[in-house]
Symmetry: C2
């Protein structure tokens, strides 16, 4: 079966309070892209965060002494670091220019996913506005999915919210899932035989992350302009899922 | 632009010495899938390794004392560990059931990518045969690409060789690139402005790995049966590339 990943054109710049489901269905209609049961819509986190009003102004943030200290170590704005700490469970690495933490949602990334580029707020200096990740990406994905199903009449859709993360060992960022609704995070193949009756070597496929990476590729540089990707032909059954299945428990992680 | 990822049907089980370019073009023709200039073919490493005869029989391997020692720590066959060490530059982590090394090609993965499942050799007990990664995946990709271009008449193609790797922090495996020809490994966006004139946050996109992940998704469980994926609509310009651009230099890696 062919997998098609189509960035949806004609999505306007999203503002706080926008109804993303309506905006996306309108854009699909404009482009005559059919939305079928079993399809998945992949959203760049930025549009979810914007629609949910997760804009913060740095002039309103008072850094703690710990944030001041980490700001020195990283050469970053202490108010920015304060927000990173508020969004994180644990600080993993600190270097000049870099802070890597475990986000309160469980994933590991730089800057707690807080975004400076391409953000402007409703007042004051553009430079002072930053965009935080959605409060609860799984809940955002679920809400969007149910609304998309209701408005479109498609009986079963899937929704992913993705971000771009750096990785250990390898250069460059790849799209990864941070919120999920009705898409399998992991496909568990343990115990299934292969062609010769051996058990398979690869037994746990991070299907949602593989899709996130592919969708991120077609969003390309301009995630602001094509922040939603329509996916047809996902090769596995849709099912109830939570982001948590993609998180390697700390005690099983050899690289923290 | 829509990205389509189509697993190519009707590819027979590959045997040592097979001409993969011919086999793939035949399968594309059988399925009436057009191969156009700018398209990319993504190969599961297993078929490259098999065609190149990278089968080894464990009964022919004499483990060193160090392999014997690591075999005890990992509960693995010392002859298998010996091959892992021969294929690796450095051992990163050793635990019962797990050995993670830096492969001689520069990537970090479990078991140096050596495969036990689904391998049978020309003689002896099936259980004794293992499959090593290609000797030089970039060279394999380049050779395949040139042959595919010559035989098909398509003036410009790209080729990726991919494997499935586990990751720090996250559960499950994803497809990643291990060999590359004429596909950009990294898209460097540094210095490019976004919509509001800010510099972009995500500046180095691991495009080849994002494509590898998407292609891996459609190979799914049966990489042996659909080990080659036809890609149309890759959103960036093809260009000369080497796997090395995807390797984070050891001294810049905070998680080793």
């Amino acid at each position: 079966m062919t997998l098609t990943l189509q960035p949806i054109p004609n999505i306007p710049l999203i503002q706080p309070g926008d109804d993303l489901a309506k905006v996306v269905l309108q854009a699909l209609e404009t482009s005559a892209i059919p939305l079928q049961s079993g399809d998945i819509l992949v959203f760049a986190q930025k549009v979810i965060s914007k629609a949910e009003g997760r804009l913060f102004n740095l002039t309103q943030v008072i850094p703690t002494p710990r944030a001041e200290e980490l700001a020195k170590e990283t050469d970053k704005d202490p108010r920015f670091i304060e927000l990173v700490l508020r969004e994180s469970r644990e600080v993993l690495r600190v270097r000049p220019g870099t802070i890597i933490t475990e986000h309160r949602c469980g994933f590991v990334c730089a800057n707690a996913g807080i975004d400076h580029s391409n953000v402007s707020g409703p007042w004051g200096n553009e430079d002072d506005w930053v965009l935080l990740l959605p409060e609860n990406p799984d809940a955002s994905a679920e809400k969007l999915r149910l609304e998309l199903q209701k408005l479109s009449g498609a009986p079963e859709l899937g929704v992913l919210i993705i971000d771009s993360h750096g990785r250990a060992w390898r250069n460059g960022t790849v799209g990864v899932t941070i919120g999920i609704s009705n898409v399998p995070g992991i496909i568990d193949m343990r115990g299934q035989p292969d062609l010769f009756g051996y058990r398979l070597r690869v037994t746990m496929i991070a299907a949602a992350d593989e899709l996130a990476a592919g969708a991120s590729l077609v969003m390309g540089q301009a995630a602001e302009r094509t922040p939603v990707v329509h996916v047809h032909g996902f090769p596995f059954m849709l099912r109830d899922a939570h982001f948590n299945e993609l998180v390697r428990p700390k005690e099983q992680d050899l690289f923290r």
